[in-house]
Point group: C2
């Protein structure tokens, strides 16, 4: 099936030498950043991105992100991120990703899924996506292009999850909106595991549900539940220095695999 | 003066949306990463980079890095990093950087300086750079191209520097060589300052002297000495969990400025 270039954006990236881990493969956090870049470029080029929305006091907010890999790009390899809107409703859009070898379209590294809401930057209330340019986003919906990643899962964590780390947030955690950067949660979660885990396992899939924004100065606590040798859930809460005002910020599911493919 | 493209490499980068701080300007750490990328591409394209050296069990080691900015690229702007070897001696090369607007060569963001050594990856001993391809690096030396950054300074820290933070090292700190990534030191050092400092000041210059490698599992301690309202020195030591085996890993000088230009 021919890709509809009007609907599907395709952006090339390099697995930069210092963005790779000891196994010479791209860090999941950096891949996540490339996916967010691709989403940003795709929506901006089609007139419903931040450059159009921000003067209207509206912005996209990432609500869910899942990345499921068969293989991670090796250091110095170039790869492309394809992204498209699978569906758009009043308050949410589903956006998919396909990560593929730049030189060989049959060499697929993996897929991603995401859900985005639109909010008013002043009231923080959800906005009707169909009111933007008269629902023009529907022109770009591609419901046919296959996405081989499993559907987004709910990430249900039991009350028995164990507090494994509490960290401070710093200057480099904060994005242009003053919130903790979405990708930083992924990095902090994967940093909960010792390097020995990455010597034996690769990350097959990560599911992130962004529940509430956290801010510079918040402390973040990480509660982990191990479901099997390869499956973990992590709840991240934000709270004050003295531990009060603890609120759930984010939930993650992490699935490891012994070997890719 | 015409740039000698054989000697000077020029690489384009984007100030990616999620690589910018709350002021919508590129984080210094990400700029540092782009400089290291440019150095890597420049040396590889000319036959004395890692792809040639690694099979010979040799590698470049960054010994000093200084970045001095008149302005930081704004979110979404494209910029180019020029890099060239200013001089090469038996055991060290001096490599310079110029960061410039892609569309306007007279719009210079800043400059950088660095010193690199070559070592044997097994013995970790310094190697004679002139023995690589019969000293071919000398063909690429450009001693004429101007670099407006101040010379590398010594970064002398007094014994009175105060311990301000101790951190653990994690999976995402570790580079392909198993060492703590050079850019991570910059991020950790700039994270010692509260966001309020970055609301009032910008980083004018950072000097880093890499003294000894640190590894995953090391704890890093940061000792700070304040010289003036705008000038700080930081010593980073690596040590074991119990505080023993404390060794200096890195020294940094940070110069802030109220406003760029």
């Amino acid at each position: 099936m021919e890709t509809d270039k009007n609907k599907v954006g395709k952006y090339e990236f390099l697995a930069e030498p210092f963005h790779c881990d000891f196994s010479h493969r791209l860090f999941m956090g950096h891949l996540g950043n490339h996916l967010l870049n691709a989403a940003d470029f795709h929506s901006s080029h089609r007139g419903f991105g931040m450059p159009y929305l921000n003067p209207l006091h509206k912005t996209w907010v990432l609500s869910r992100l899942a990345i499921e890999m068969d293989e991670m790009p090796l250091q110095y390899s170039t790869f492309a991120v394809e992204t498209w809107v699978e569906s758009a409703m009043r308050y949410f859009t589903n956006r998919n990703f396909r990560i593929v070898d730049t030189d060989d379209d049959s060499h697929v590294y993996g897929y991603g899924r995401s859900v985005w809401a639109m909010i008013d930057t002043q009231t923080r209330r959800p906005q009707n996506i169909m009111e933007i340019r008269d629902g023009e986003i529907m022109k770009y919906v591609d419901a046919e292009k296959p996405c081989a990643a499993q559907p987004l899962s709910r990430v249900r964590i039991s009350e028995g999850a164990r507090l494994v780390r509490t960290i401070d947030t710093h200057y480099s955690d904060v994005d242009v909106n003053g919130h903790i950067n979405s990708v930083k949660y992924i990095e902090h979660v994967l940093d909960l595991f010792p390097v020995s885990r990455y010597k034996e396992y690769a990350v097959k899939r990560i599911d992130v549900a962004y529940v509430a924004e956290s801010y510079y100065g918040d402390k973040l606590s990480f509660y982990m539940e191990q479901l099997s040798e390869e499956d973990f859930l992590v709840r991240i809460t934000r709270h004050r220095e003295d531990g009060t005002d603890e609120t759930e910020a984010c939930r993650c599911g992490i699935k490891f695999v012994k070997d890719y493919k």
